[in-house]
Amino acid sequence: MPELPDRREETQGGFIVHGVPFPIETDPDALAFLKRLTPIQIEQEYAITYLHSYGQDSPWFAGAANRRLLAAREPESGYTYATPRGHDMYSGIETEWIDITSRRARIHAFTVCHFGSEEFLPETPYVLAMIEYEGVDTLFLSRLMGIDPDEASIEWIGMEVRPRFLRNSKLKPTDVYFVPVGLPDGAA
């Protein structure tokens, strides 16, 4: 028998109170009694829009908007970052862009998020995966589609995947996501 909910969902918000209970006279007994009251809690809104710059990483987003997956390579050692870095962490040399759109990619690790932070709760369950590319030294965090989140298995690790791009770029790293190789276009 499925487990039945036995609590109502808690949400913030409530009635606005007009007139807060308080002693009519502030005699010593009444003032001492104030120590025994429950705390007053109010809501405070906090919302802000940031102008966020991708700085030296910007070309990656332009590439994804044009269905190209870029990576950053140290020109001398060839050390290659799937998640771009403007400068190599070992030599300090400025990296150069390379196109890895067609390289073979596999699942290095994954999870299925059944909960998440508030922004992503409506998308649960969703699959996060670290992607490893052939000839690339570091990994790339992405979403995985075309795979049943209720059938999670360690056997997914090593599965060959390929990138798929949003038609309408949002200029976010989620402009690219991955699907299993062999999945027909339109199936995900």
Partner: protein, 455 residues
């Protein structure tokens, strides 16, 4: 040359899901007053004797308050003495512990108090997860589905793939820590669970269930440090300091790339040269074991191991003169935000070799003696890990957590757990030396501090 530093006393507020009854300053004061009272001093006397402070809290978002550190300093009556705030994600409390130690060891202060807090109940859980996730790269990681439980879940799926670690082994950690906390009145979650309970609790981020993961908390902790001169000053003022003293025998820290995707996968020779413990490096058997792992494809640290934790441990052990932590330590309070990260940390801290953490978890060697966990454990307890219940059961009010570990370690080494907990069950018998370990998101900052009873 650093001076000897003693950790004299500490205090912890009861960690709770929500503490709307007090402001954060007043919650800190609970821990602060306890630490002072445990020296048998009153506030005015202590205030006259203390040179300054270090404050810790993780997130300005949770309290919607910048400069909360100075508000605490003010409330505690410490102004105009020196003070500053430290922050380093989940390791904030551990960093605070070490910064206060440095203040005394360097000669800048003779008496320093470290205090830390977090009030995480002011937003709903999922907004809290969002705040915490903002401690990941907001260009590359957060927008993909930023959720720390998801990050750790990915790390452990790789650990499972590399080493065959199982969810049942992880559940052993949850059972242990929740039941240890049954005897700790400061803990938020004090329950007896079975392996089945852990696995059947709601799935959060596969394979981590709700009982594999610590909870958010409101809470505070404080630790008082002193040099020889500071100790003499406090005792001249009337402080009652129990003997033998508890000394900070060594500290270590490590760091790693913010994006775990950027972490390297080094070869065997680099691992042995740069990361192996002295104990591992000197063992023919272990070198052969690691050669075999690398032959099978293991690389280090990847996303399955915390290089920062290994670096912090090695540094702290070297400074404290520890060669084999499994033998030389009597307990460890480590940062078990996840059952998986406790297992990974066994390996980082050299309690077992990389790849053996899961077996170590289920062996019983990290359990407390004398407690019936309802598990079939093949080995006798050897080195209790998280005798307090750890983060999983005590809760994780981030800026307080690393200091809480310090307080519990002081009490273990003083032999006063029974007095402070009202229950002697969690007192580690004849504890001479212990470690505390604090860890920030996906292993970015890690601190290890060794505390030792003076003989």
């Amino acid at each position: 040359m650093m001076r000897p530093v003693y950790a004299l006393s500490g205090g912890v507020s009861k960690f709770s899901k929500a503490r709307p009854d007090k402001t954060f300053q007043a919650i800190i004061k609970e821990a602060y007053d306890y630490a002072i009272a445990d020296l048998d001093l009153d506030m005015a006397t202590f205030t006259a004797a203390v040179d300054g402070s270090v404050a810790s809290y993780f997130s300005d978002h949770f309290s919607r308050q910048l400069m909360a550190g100075i508000m605490a300093q003010d409330y505690l009556g410490l102004v105009p003495k020196p003070g500053h705030r430290v922050e380093g994600g989940g390791a904030t409390g551990g960093l605070c512990f070490q910064e206060a130690w440095k203040s005394v060891a360097s000669g800048d202060m003779d008496v320093c108090i470290a205090y830390g807090f977090e009030t995480m109940s002011h937003v709903e859980t999922w907004k809290g997860n969002e705040f915490i996730a903002l401690a990941s790269d907001v260009s590359w990681d957060y927008p993909v589905g930023g959720f720390y439980s998801g990050y750790y879940a990915m790390m452990v799926t790789r650990h499972m793939k590399e080493y065959g670690t199982t969810v049942e082994q992880m559940a052993h950690v949850s059972v242990k820590n929740h039941l240890n906390a049954y005897h700790n009145p400061y803990a938020q979650k004090r329950n007896r669970y079975s392996i089945d309970d852990v696995r059947s609790s709601p799935m959060v981020a596969w394979p981590l269930t709700r009982l594999d993961i610590c909870v958010m908390s409101d809470g505070a902790a404080a630790v008082i440090f002193a040099s020889e001169e500071g100790l003499a000053r406090l005792e001249a003022a009337g402080a009652v300091v129990s003997r033998p003293l508890v000394k900070v025998a060594g500290i270590g820290r490590g760091t790693d790339a913010m994006r775990m995707a950027d972490r390297p996968h080094v070869d065997y020779d680099t691992f042995m040269a740069d990361y192996a413990t002295d104990h591992e490096r000197n063992s023919d058997d272990t070198r052969a074991y690691y050669r075999q792992l690398w032959a099978q494809g293991t690389r280090y640290p990847g996303i399955h191991s915390f290089r920062a934790g290994r670096t912090a441990g090695n540094l702290a052990y070297r400074r404290a003169g520890i060669v084999d932590p499994l033998v030389e330590l009597d307990f460890i309070e480590l940062h078990d935000a996840y059952t998986s990260s406790e297992i990974q940390t066994y390996e980082d801290l050299g309690l077992c070799r990389y790849g053996e953490g899961g077996q170590f978890a289920a062996s019983g060697r990290a359990f407390m003696p004398g407690i019936d966990y309802g598990l079939d454990l093949p080995d006798e307890p050897e080195l209790p890990v998280n005798p307090s219940g750890g983060l999983i059961a005590c809760g994780h009010p981030v800026g307080a957590t690393g200091l809480m570990q310090g307080v519990f370690a002081i009490w273990q080494l003083q032999g006063t757990i029974g007095r402070h907990f009202g229950d002697p069950m969690l007192q580690v018998s004849e504890a001479e030396q212990g470690a505390i370990h604090s860890h920030a998101g996906t292993g970015t900052y890690v601190t290890v501090s060794i505390l030792r009873k003076e003989v």
